[in-house]
């Protein structure tokens, strides 16, 4: 085969990486290039340098080192039996591309993942080498996210953590049966074992830095993982349960959900239709409820329907509130933070504002309206100095009053 140009390789290997949901570049240690030889800085907040028409942010150069793979996971476009075009970068090419983009302020850094060539160890070595060239030869101080391979030698994964800001290992599918069915070469125990090992390494390195100022940092932005939604039969309750277990046992920074999207050359055991994009959105909302609103995983599951799925027409918080109407209305002038956070339409910012403002005055409905996005959504669930929802909270058609208006169906939708 003729040698592919850099442009062709980039097309193939960026295209192959687009099914990864994560593009975060936040939450890492602060660093900058003053006094160094190279370039780059991370200042806590991530920066989205562009947005694609799919609504997702482009923060990192997200590419695969290669899309050749010896594995045969059915949901993956790069599986062995798929006949996509294949390409492979050298570690040097990855480093040069990253620097060229970074210098022009296109990106925050690199997110490198890979198909598995030759062996897990060989592949991992190549990925670590790309990170090493950036960090050591070019003194690159931007963000690096490495997707590590659970089957690789733990020592290589540790090396990766020393160069990277964040490392991630994908759990791929929410259920064990889904994994054996769709990713026959992968093993749940091995994946979770690798995640646990990384967690230990992160804790150990943090501990060392408390004692020795110059102890090396290990993945200062922590580790994350990704689950594919809609490729197997797992319900939202299964997924939420799995995610909360992952957060609890491994201290993950994020669990990403990637709605399975029909990929070219899909294997026949997969659904061909995409799951509704909203499903992914609802899962992220439920994730937020657990992380920022103090909901227990069991409580999120209470918002699901009989099949264990979150409603698509309304958000999970509203679904929960409608199911537990006895808890409402909540008095905005007296209720504690936890209860205010349960009111549909009030987010952490609004709640904080309400608590600060009510020190100065007893809040009226108008005051609350000034502190929130939409008072219509909040109204049935609160009382204020001049407001009582009376029968509104108990109305049978409350759900239809609050659900967003249905859009006209597309006549020729495929």
């Amino acid at each position: 085969m003729a040698q592919k140009s850099l442009l062709e390789k980039l097309e193939i290997l960026a295209d192959a990486a687009k099914y990864d949901a994560s593009c975060a570049s936040s939450g890492t240690a602060k660093k900058n290039s003053l006094g160094g030889k190279g370039i780059g800085s991370t200042e806590g907040m991530g920066i989205c340098h562009a947005y694609a028409p799919d609504g997702r942010c482009i923060s990192l150069l997200k590419i695969l080192l290669t899309n050749h793979c010896i594995f045969d996971c059915h949901y993956c476009i790069n599986r062995k039996s798929s006949n996509v075009r294949r390409a492979r970068f050298t570690p040097q090419e990855v480093a040069d591309l990253t620097l060229n983009f970074y210098r022009r302020n296109y990106i925050e850094g690199l997110f490198l993942s890979s198909g598995i060539i030759k062996s897990s160890n060989f592949t991992m070595e190549q990925m670590v080498e790309a990170a090493r060239i950036l960090r050591e030869e070019h003194d690159f101080r931007g963000y690096i996210h490495l997707k590590t391979i659970p089957e690789a030698d733990p020592e290589l994964v540790r090396q990766a953590g020393l160069y990277a800001d964040r490392i991630s290992i994908n759990v791929e599918l929410p259920t064990t049966s889904g994994l054996t069915r769709l990713a026959p070469d992968k093993d749940e125990r091995q994946i979770e074992g690798a995640i646990a090992k990384t967690k230990d390494d992160i804790i150990e390195a943090k501990d060392a830095r408390k004692r020795f100022r110059h102890a090396p940092r290990f993945a200062p932005a922590g580790q994350s993982t990704q689950m594919i939604v809609g490729a197997d039969r797992a319900s939202d309750a299964d997924i939420v349960g799995k995610a909360s277990r992952l957060y609890d046992s491994f201290g993950l920074r994020r669990v990403y959900y990637s709605a399975f999207s029909p990929i070219p050359d899909a294997s026949a055991v997969l659904p061909l239709q995409r799951p509704p994009l909203l499903r992914e959105h609802r899962l992220y909302q439920s994730d937020w409820l657990m992380r920022f609103y103090g909901y227990a995983p069991g409580e999120v599951c209470e918002a699901t329907d009989a099949d264990g799925n979150l409603p698509l027409d309304i958000d999970p918080k509203l679904a929960w509130a409608l199911k537990f109407r006895g808890t409402f209305p909540v008095d905005v002038n007296r209720a504690g933070k936890e209860m205010l956070l349960r009111v549909p339409g009030l987010g952490p910012t609004a709640v904080q504002r309400i608590i600060a403002a009510r020190r100065h005055r007893t809040l009226r409905l108008d005051d609350v309206a000034r502190l929130t996005q939409s008072i219509a959504k909040v109204r049935p669930f609160i009382t204020a100095l001049d407001w009582r929802p009376t029968t509104l909270t108990d109305r049978a058609d409350l759900r239809s009053l609050l659900a967003p208006k249905q859009e006209q169906l597309e006549l020729f939708a495929s």
């Binding site: 055991v269 061909l272 100065h360 495929s414």
Partner: protein, 490 residues
């Protein structure tokens, strides 16, 4: 240029002061003046704040006509002006807004803070809210500057690399953000040109210069082709959320971002591309069927894989609907295709003999294939068997899984590697897999052995050896079957 403090004397309400700022983003100057004015107890309605270059308001003009007075100087022992940290950090940012009323607003808030030090907590207050709005839009503008500045590489007079960007901010944020770019690109020569002033960094010092025009900036960079191709490739056409993109990357920024030129085409092509992606699989979402007859009827029209183009018929399995044993071969051959039944050709005869020898009753088993159509190439009058590809086997798995779901066998016998792939979803080595059961997800036991057609291709000693191996595999299956069926037969 330095700031000028003007004042006019209003006839009945005491002096009216006009303060002219030296630069639109000079927060330090405002702070000093405001502090003094508060100490002298000058209420907000008697101060006008005039931006440099701006025409200012009524009082500025009357000030220019001669009624000029120095700002009052506070007494040494007067109470110093106080402000919370929160106020100062918000004010520093809000002062960069392009709203001409911003300094008056800040002074009004500072004035009110003297009597109510915790006023900033009251987010329902219109002044507090306005200040937060200003702060928010300035922060957003700064953030977008960090994100959307695009450098282009040029060579400067000395032959060194120089990176130049053109950016159009909404507010007076350029100088305030110099530090960000300095810390990030510390060892690069760069310039950021804007209509509100420019920044230049040479690796050691930061230099400022006056407003520039777009034509002062370079108009291209070869690396932009790579970047555009990255942008187009990372976009997933299966998910189109134009609204989400626009809210974060409004159109006003597009003209200075090379990749934005691609957006209209990407959106237009997205629907078509997703349709292609789905059509490339040429499958339609099918309902699971619950009887073998319906299944056979549906399979007849299956055109999911290229084998359908061979023009052969779908040969479905045959046997009892609740057989305890399912035997899975590779695909129908020439004879099977003509007869429309599995395992009736030479390989089928060999299988029958071996089954009888092992004591397995074929009529009590369900016999089928991993691939339902005969795949061949025509050589003269003969149709030569072609091994199905992994992809074809995977595609046909839908049918095999449907059969499994209906028959629910306790034991499955896979003949050959293709059958094993059809059942396991991955390619296994026969050598490694045969001789011991593999538990499947639905509790069925899978036994893998060679395909009888393999025995047909062998001669002499090798054939005898393999035939013995095959028989011993079948004997093991028979033994397992006995343990399952003995209970039910009694």
């Amino acid at each position: 240029m330095s700031g000028q403090a003007l004042s006019t004397r209003a006839p009945s309400m005491g002096a009216h002061y006009a303060v002219q700022l030296p630069a639109p983003d000079d927060f330090a100057f405002w702070r000093d003046q405001a502090r003094a004015l508060v100490q002298c107890e000058v209420p907000p309605d008697r101060v006008s704040w005039i931006e440099s270059g701006g025409t200012g308001d009524l009082f500025a003009q009357s000030g220019a006509s001669g009624l000029v007075k120095r700002l009052p100087v506070p007494d040494r022992d007067s109470r110093p002006a106080r402000a919370s940290k929160r106020f100062l950090s918000l004010a520093r940012n809000a002062a960069l807004h392009s709203d001409p009323e911003r300094f008056a607003l800040l002074y009004r808030l500072l004035w009110r803070l003297q009597s109510n030090p915790r006023m900033m907590e009251d987010k329902t207050d219109p002044d507090v809210r306005r200040m937060e709005e200003l702060d928010k839009s300035v922060r957003r503008d700064s953030h977008k500057m960090h994100a959307f500045v695009r450098f282009r590489q040029v060579e400067d007079a000395a032959g060194d690399e120089h990176y130049v960007a053109w950016f159009e901010p909404d507010h007076h944020i350029v100088r305030a953000n110099a530090g960000f770019f300095m810390r990030r690109f510390a060892n690069m020569n760069w310039s950021i040109l804007t209509p509100r002033g420019c920044l230049h960094w040479d690796g050691e010092t930061m230099r400022e210069s006056g407003p520039a025009q777009r034509s002062d900036a370079p108009d291209g960079d070869p690396v932009e082709e790579l970047w555009k191709s990255y942008y187009a490739s990372i976009f997933n056409p299966a998910r189109l959320k134009v609204g989400a993109m626009l809210s974060e990357m409004p159109k006003k920024y597009w003209k200075n971002m090379p990749e934005a030129a691609l957006i209209p085409d990407l959106i237009a092509g997205a629907q078509a591309r997703e349709a292609n992606m789905v059509a490339a699989g040429t499958r339609e979402a099918r309902e699971r069927l619950d009887s073998l007859a319906e299944l056979a009827e549906a399979a007849r029209n299956c055109r999911d894989c290229p084998i359908a183009d061979c023009g052969t018929r779908a040969v479905m399995g045959e046997g009892a609907q609740s057989a305890p044993l399912m035997i899975v071969g590779e695909q129908p051959g020439d004879h099977e295709d003509l007869a429309g039944r599995p395992f009736v050709g030479p390989a089928g005869q060999l299988l029958d003999a071996a089954l009888t020898q092992a004591g397995i009753d074929r009529s009590a088993a369900y016999v089928t294939n991993a691939v339902k159509h005969f795949k061949f190439v025509q050589r003269g009058k003969r149709r030569i068997h072609q091994t199905p590809t992994a992809k074809e086997i995977d595609t046909c798995r839908w049918w095999l899984e449907s059969e499994l779901a209906i028959v629910k066998p306790r034991v499955i016998l896979a003949l050959g590697a293709s059958a094993a792939r059809g059942l396991l979803g991955k390619t296994v080595s026969l050598k490694a897999a045969r001789g011991a059961p593999i538990m499947l997800e639905d509790k069925a036991e899978l036994w893998v052995t060679a395909h009888p057609a393999y025995l047909l291709r062998l001669d002499g000693e090798a054939r005898e050896e393999q035939a013995a191996f095959f028989s011993s595999d079948l004997a093991k299956v028979q033994a397992r079957l006995d343990t399952f069926t003995s209970g039910t037969q009694v």
